[in-house]
């Protein structure tokens, strides 16, 4: 590892790249999108139209597992980003990105199986205002996770072929913002939909 590259890394740290700030602004606008859907859910959550309410539908241990899996993936992504920024270790970056990808895919699989179960029991989004809002909120989060996974797959391929360069490192930072943000949104879904629904 030459001094030049290391000095370059330091430079990279000192000046926040504009792309990172730009992406942060996008994340904040995405937070507003989620806030609108959360508000909709909060307004509609008691409108069950004689159907099941939140407390009757969900299995709490299942949701806790989902939550811990997503949290773990947020942590492993942090490790990938750490090895990219401070140790320049391509192998470890790839390994942790892969672990993150698998955890994310597992989370998505669990979410899809929950949705399928709800729909097959006749509790789809047409059932009541509450379920429409539920599917919109959790489904939007799931779509974001799907997009994150596609993006992460592309990133893994890029790191595989190009290694840890200025460009790939910046992409790792940007996807990191997105991935940690999705975990934060899930905390609120976990709290407001599942926990408060079960109280």
């Amino acid at each position: 590892m030459s001094t030049e590259i290391l000095a370059h890394h330091k430079e990279h740290h000192r000046s926040t790249p504009k792309s990172l700030f730009g992406f942060w602004v996008y994340i904040m606008s995405d937070a507003l999108l989620f806030a609108s859907i959360f508000a909709t859910y909060a307004v509609l959550r008691n409108n069950t139209y004689g159907g099941p309410s939140a407390g009757e539908l969900f299995s709490m241990p299942f949701v806790l597992t989902e939550t811990l899996i997503l949290l773990a993936s947020s942590f492993t992504y942090g490790l990938a980003s750490l090895y990219a920024h401070h140790h320049n270790s391509k192998r470890k970056v790839l390994a942790w990105l892969l672990v993150t990808f698998l955890l994310g895919a597992l989370f998505l699989g669990m979410e899809i199986s929950e949705f399928t179960k709800l729909v097959s029991e006749g509790n789809g989004w047409q059932r009541s205002g509450f379920l429409s809002a539920f599917f919109t909120l959790v489904g939007t989060h799931g779509l974001h996770v799907t997009a994150g996974l596609v993006w992460m797959g592309g990133l893994i391929i890029q790191v595989l072929y190009r290694g840890i360069t200025e460009a790939t490192m910046s992409k790792i930072s940007v996807l990191g913002l997105f991935w940690h943000f999705l975990d934060i949104v899930w905390i609120f879904i976990f709290t407001f939909v599942y926990l408060i629904g079960a109280i």
Binding site: F21, A39, H86, T191
Partner: protein
């Protein structure tokens, strides 16, 4: 050569700090997930208190993840990231609290079977 080592040392030092930050964030987040979970599942509190406790731990966890995972506190000098973040929080609060407030009042005013003879504030033409 000595300079080389100095730069590498600094890199490793920064790496260790970052690792500590992620581990602390991860452990705190797990704790802040399990506490509200068991409060709800084991019915440790009465309804009203439980809601406050659960929402409280979500807000603390938001703070934990923003600090330890997103490292928001130590980015860009004029803190533009932070300013945008605070502005967003403000809008989110107005949006969510505002919707709930408006819709609650709407429901409250329309709970009776017929609004025409029960609502004092409503005078039909």
């Amino acid at each position: 050569m000595i300079n080389d080592f100095k730069v590498i040392d600094e890199q490793y030092e920064a790496g260790r700090k970052a690792l500590r930050s992620y581990v602390i964030g991860f452990v705190l987040s797990i704790i802040l997930t399990l506490i509200p979970y068991f409060i709800v599942v084991k019915h440790l509190m009465v309804n009203q208190t439980a809601v406050f406790a659960v929402v409280g731990s979500a807000l603390v966890q938001l703070l934990v993840q923003v600090v330890f995972f997103l490292h928001l506190h130590k980015k860009s000098k004029p803190h533009w990231n932070l300013i945008v973040f605070i502005f967003t929080i403000l809008i989110v609060i107005i949006l969510v609290a505002g919707s709930l407030w408006v819709m609650y009042n709407l429901n409250y005013n329309m709970t009776e079977v017929s609004p025409f003879n029960s609502n004092e504030g409503y005078i039909p033409e």
